[in-house]
C-alpha cells in the first residue's frame, strides 16, 4: 500500500495500464505538455511521447508536430469529435482514454456517446466492441457555476450499453480505472473534483483491479443505511459521525458502480438496518439516487421500517455565488435532517 492522492491514483492507473498495454492511449484538451487542467496527466506526455520509438514512422514535418504525442494526444476543443474519434479507434482494437476537461462538457458529446459508442455493440449483433473510457471531473467544485458543475453519472446510467462508475477513494479510483481500461465496453468514469486532493492508501499490486458491480461497505452500522457514491460517501461518513453522537449507528454503503449496480450489497444492508437514505449530488429530481430508492422501496418493502429517504442537489442550475451554491450541494446536515425526517 502507498499513501497518495486521488489524483495520483488516477494517474497511476493510467500509467500502469499504458505500460502494460501498448494499445492504451489518452486524448483530450490540454492533457499533454499542459498536464491537464486538474493536473491529472502530469508526466504522461514526457513518459510516452519523448522517446523516438513512440513514433510509428518518422514525422514528415517535425516542426509542425512539436508537442504532438502519439499516445498522449492534445486535441482541438471539440468534445464530440474527440469521443467519435476515440470510438473509431476503439472499434479497431485500441483502448482510448478520453479525458473530459470536465464531465459537464461531455454534454456536447452526448450524441457520440449515446448513439455511437453505447449502441454499436448491440446494433452490430455483437461484432464490434468499443473499449473506451471517458473520464474526468464531475460534480460541483468551488464556484464554477452552472455549466461546469453538472453531475452527469445519472444521465449516463440511464443508457443501456454504457458502464458507469463513480469511485470515492484513491484505492477505488485506481482499481476501478484499471478495470475500466481493460473492459471491452464504453465506460464513464467520474472523478469528483472535490476528491482530487483526498489522500488514502492505494494498492501497489499492478495486477489488482476492482471489478464493477460490487458495492463497498465504507462503514458498518446497524441502525440506518446511508447509500451514496463519489464524494457523497465522504459526506455520508461525516453524517454518520454526527449521528453516532446521537446514538444512531449508521452504515455507509459506497455504491461506486452505478451501472452495473450491486443491489445485493445495498439490499443486504437495508435488510439489516431497516432504514435507508440515499445521498447523491445530482439534481434530486430524476437523479440516479431516485433509481436506487425506487429499487429499495420495491424489493425491500417488507424489510423497511420507514419510507426510503433521499438527499439530493437542489433543482436549479448551479449558481455562482458561494452562499447560493452551498444551498445546492448536499452536506452532512442535510443528511441528518433527512434521517430525522424519515424517523
Amino acid at each position: 500500500m502507498t499513501n497518495m492522492t486521488y489524483r495520483e491514483a488516477v494517474r497511476l492507473a493510467m500509467i500502469e495500464e499504458m505500460d502494460r498495454d501498448q494499445n492504451v492511449f489518452i486524448m483530450g484538451e490540454d492533457i499533454g505538455k499542459y498536464k491537464g487542467t486538474f493536473r491529472v496527466t502530469d508526466g504522461l506526455f514526457e513518459r510516452y511521447c519523448q522517446e523516438p520509438r513512440d513514433w510509428l514512422v518518422e514525422p514528415p514535418h517535425p516542426e509542425i508536430l512539436d508537442g504532438v504525442g502519439r499516445r498522449v494526444i492534445d486535441t482541438p476543443i471539440t468534445e464530440p469529435g474527440i469521443v467519435g474519434m476515440a470510438t473509431g479507434a476503439a472499434m479497431t482494437g485500441l483502448r482510448p482514454i478520453v479525458e473530459m476537461m470536465t464531465m459537464s462538457f461531455s454534454i456536447l458529446a452526448l450524441d457520440q456517446i449515446i448513439n455511437h459508442a453505447a449502441k454499436i455493440h448491440y446494433m452490430t449483433g455483437g461484432q464490434i466492441s468499443v473499449p473506451l473510457v471517458i473520464r474526468g471531473p464531475g460534480g460541483a467544485a468551488n464556484q464554477l457555476s452552472a455549466q461546469h458543475s453538472h453531475s452527469m453519472e445519472g444521465w449516463y446510467a440511464h443508457v443501456p450499453g454504457l458502464k458507469v462508475v463513480a469511485p470515492a477513494t484513491p484505492n477505488c479510483a485506481k482499481g476501478m480505472l484499471k478495470a475500466a481500461i481493460r473492459d471491452d465496453n464504453p465506460v464513464i468514469f467520474t472523478e469528483n473534483p472535490g476528491l482530487y486532493s483526498m489522500k488514502g492508501d492505494v494498492s501497489d499490486n499492478v495486477d489488482e483491479i476492482i471489478p464493477f458491480g460490487k458495492a463497498r461497505i465504507a462503514k458498518e452500522g446497524k441502525d440506518i443505511s446511508l447509500i451514496a457514491y463519489s464524494r457523497m460517501v465522504n459526506v455520508s461518513l461525516a453524517a454518520a459521525e454526527l449521528l453516532a453522537a446521537d446514538g444512531i449507528d449508521a452504515e455507509v454503503v459506497d455504491v461506486r458502480s452505478l451501472l452495473p449496480l450491486d443491489t445485493e450489497t445495498i439490499y443486504n444492508s437495508v435488510r439489516k438496518t431497516h432504514r435507508a437514505v440515499v445521498v447523491y449530488e445530482d439534481w434530486k429530481s430524476g437523479g440516479f439516487g431516485a433509481e436506487i430508492a425506487a429499487r429499495i422501496a420495491q424489493d425491500c418493502f417488507d424489510d423497511l421500517d420507514a419510507p426510503v429517504g433521499r438527499v439530493g442537489g437542489l433543482n436549479v442550475p448551479m449558481p455562482y455565488a458561494r452562499v447560493l451554491e452551498l444551498q445546492c450541494i448536499p452536506n452532512e446536515q442535510d443528511v441528518l435532517a433527512e434521517v430525522r425526517k424519515i424517523g
Binding site: G67, S145, P317, L324
Partner: protein, 374 residues
C-alpha cells in the same frame, strides 16, 4: 512555429467599395482621441481587477484582456447603438464599452453600466444576473448584449438566431460575436456560420487569435496559419486585422459590418493578437512555464496603447508632451500606478467598484428564484 502577433494585415477578401478610402478616414480627431481613451479604459479595468484580487478582495477568475484591448475597442467603436454583441470570457470590458460613444455617463446608452459590471465581478445582487453566474457570464437584453456562457462558441448560433429574427422583422442591425481562435474548432461555430451564410444574416464573427487556447498553442488547434480562412468554406469574406492596432481592427470590422448591414451576409474578422498572461489569473504561474519566454516577450512587445499613441502623434492629434502624460504601455498590472491612466478612467472604475462594494450579497434563500418564468 507560425508567425505571431499582428504580422499579417492583408485583407483576404475585399468587401468594401473599390475606393481606397478606409473607414478610419471618416473619423474626426475627437473620435481618434476617444478610441485612444477607450484603450486606457479597457486596460485599467483589467489592471484594477488584478490588483483587487491580489488584495484578496475578490473571488473568481479574471480572463485578462491585457494586450488584446484593441480588438475589443476597435470592434465596438463603430457599431450602432442598436447592434447586438455576444462577448465571451476574455471580453469583460465589452459589456460596459458597448456604445460608449453615446456618452460614458449616459444612462440611456446601449451598454451595461460600469456599476453593473463591477457588481457582477463582486457577485452582488446589483449585477444583471443577480450573482447567479461568474464574472464574464452576463447578458442584458434591453442593451442588446447576448448572455455569454461557459460553452465555447455556444452563443454563435444564438447570435445567428438573433440576426435571423431581426431580418424577419425587417431590421438592419448587425450581430457581432467574439470568439477565441481555439473555439473555432467547435461544431456549432460552423453550424452557425453555415446557417448565417445560407440566410445571408448580418453576423460578424470576430476571432481573437491570441495564439493560445488555455495551454494549447494554435498549431495543435488548426493546421493553417490564418483562421480567417475558416471563411473560405462558406464563401464569405474573411478579414485579417492586426489586433494590436485599434485602427486596423476598426477598419476591418467596419467593412465586415457594412457588408452585413447591406444584406450580403456574415463574415469573419480574425484579429491577430497575443495573450499577455495565463489563460485566467489562476493559470499565470503555469503559463510562465509552458510558454517560451521569447515568444511571450515578442507577443507583448507591440502594446496597443503604444501603437495608437504613435498614430495620434503622427497625425498631430496629440503633442509630444501629451503623449508622455500617461504611460501604461509596456507595463504589467503590478508595474502600473493610477498616474499611468487618465484621471477620468480611474474615476470611472472607482464609481463601479464603490457601487459593487455597497451592493448587497444575495440572500441564501433566493437561490430557487428564476428557474422558470412565472
Amino acid at each position: 512555429m507560425t508567425a505571431k502577433n499582428g504580422s499579417a494585415t492583408a485583407t483576404r477578401v475585399k468587401a468594401s467599395d473599390p475606393t481606397d478610402q478606409l473607414p478610419r478616414d471618416l473619423l474626426s480627431r475627437e473620435e481618434y482621441l476617444e478610441l485612444f481613451r477607450q484603450l486606457y479604459l479597457a486596460r485599467y479595468f483589467d489592471v484594477r481587477l488584478i490588483k483587487e484580487k491580489k488584495k484578496g478582495r475578490l473571488t473568481g477568475t479574471l480572463y485578462s484582456s491585457h494586450n488584446q484591448e484593441a480588438v475589443l475597442v476597435g470592434s465596438l467603436f463603430g457599431l450602432r447603438p442598436n447592434d447586438w454583441i455576444s462577448p465571451i470570457h476574455r471580453d469583460m470590458p465589452a459589456f460596459f464599452m458597448k456604445d460608449l460613444r453615446s456618452g460614458w455617463d449616459n444612462p440611456d446608452r446601449m451598454g451595461m453600466s460600469i456599476e453593473e459590471v463591477c457588481a457582477q465581478v463582486w457577485c452582488k445582487v446589483g449585477s444583471p444576473g443577480r450573482a447567479r453566474d461568474n464574472w464574464s457570464h452576463i447578458g442584458k437584453k434591453d442593451k442588446h448584449i447576448i448572455h455569454s456562457t461557459s460553452m465555447l462558441a455556444g452563443t454563435i448560433p444564438v447570435a445567428a438566431g438573433v440576426a435571423y429574427a431581426d431580418k424577419l422583422d425587417g431590421g438592419d442591425t448587425v450581430v457581432v460575436t467574439f470568439n477565441g481562435e481555439g473555439s473555432t474548432a467547435q461544431g456549432v461555430f460552423h453550424e452557425a456560420i453555415n446557417f448565417a451564410a445560407v440566410h445571408k444574416l448580418a453576423v460578424v464573427t470576430i476571432i481573437e487569435n491570441n495564439q493560445w487556447a488555455y495551454g494549447t498553442p494554435t498549431h495543435l488547434g488548426y493546421p493553417l496559419e490564418d483562421y480567417a480562412r475558416r471563411a473560405d468554406g462558406y464563401g464569405i469574406p474573411g478579414f485579417i486585422a492586426d489586433g494590436q492596432d485599434v485602427f486596423d481592427v476598426y477598419d476591418k470590422v467596419m467593412q465586415a459590418v457594412a457588408w452585413g448591414r447591406s444584406g450580403k451576409g456574415p463574415s469573419i474578422v480574425e484579429c491577430k493578437t497575443f495573450r499577455a498572461y495565463g489563460h485566467g489569473d489562476h493559470d499565470d504561474d503555469r503559463a510562465a512555464k509552458y510558454r517560451p519566454q521569447d515568444e511571450v516577450e515578442q507577443g507583448r512587445s507591440r502594446d496597443p496603447i503604444a501603437i495608437a499613441k504613435k498614430v495620434l502623434l503622427e497625425k498631430g492629434y496629440i503633442t509630444e508632451s501629451e503623449a508622455t502624460l500617461y504611460q501604461a504601455e509596456g507595463k504589467s498590472a503590478g508595474q502600473t500606478t493610477d498616474e499611468d491612466f487618465p484621471p477620468e478612467v480611474v474615476a470611472y472604475l472607482k464609481r463601479g467598484v464603490d457601487y459593487a462594494l455597497k451592493s448587497p450579497a444575495p440572500a441564501a434563500e433566493e437561490g430557487e428564484r428564476w428557474v422558470f418564468r412565472v
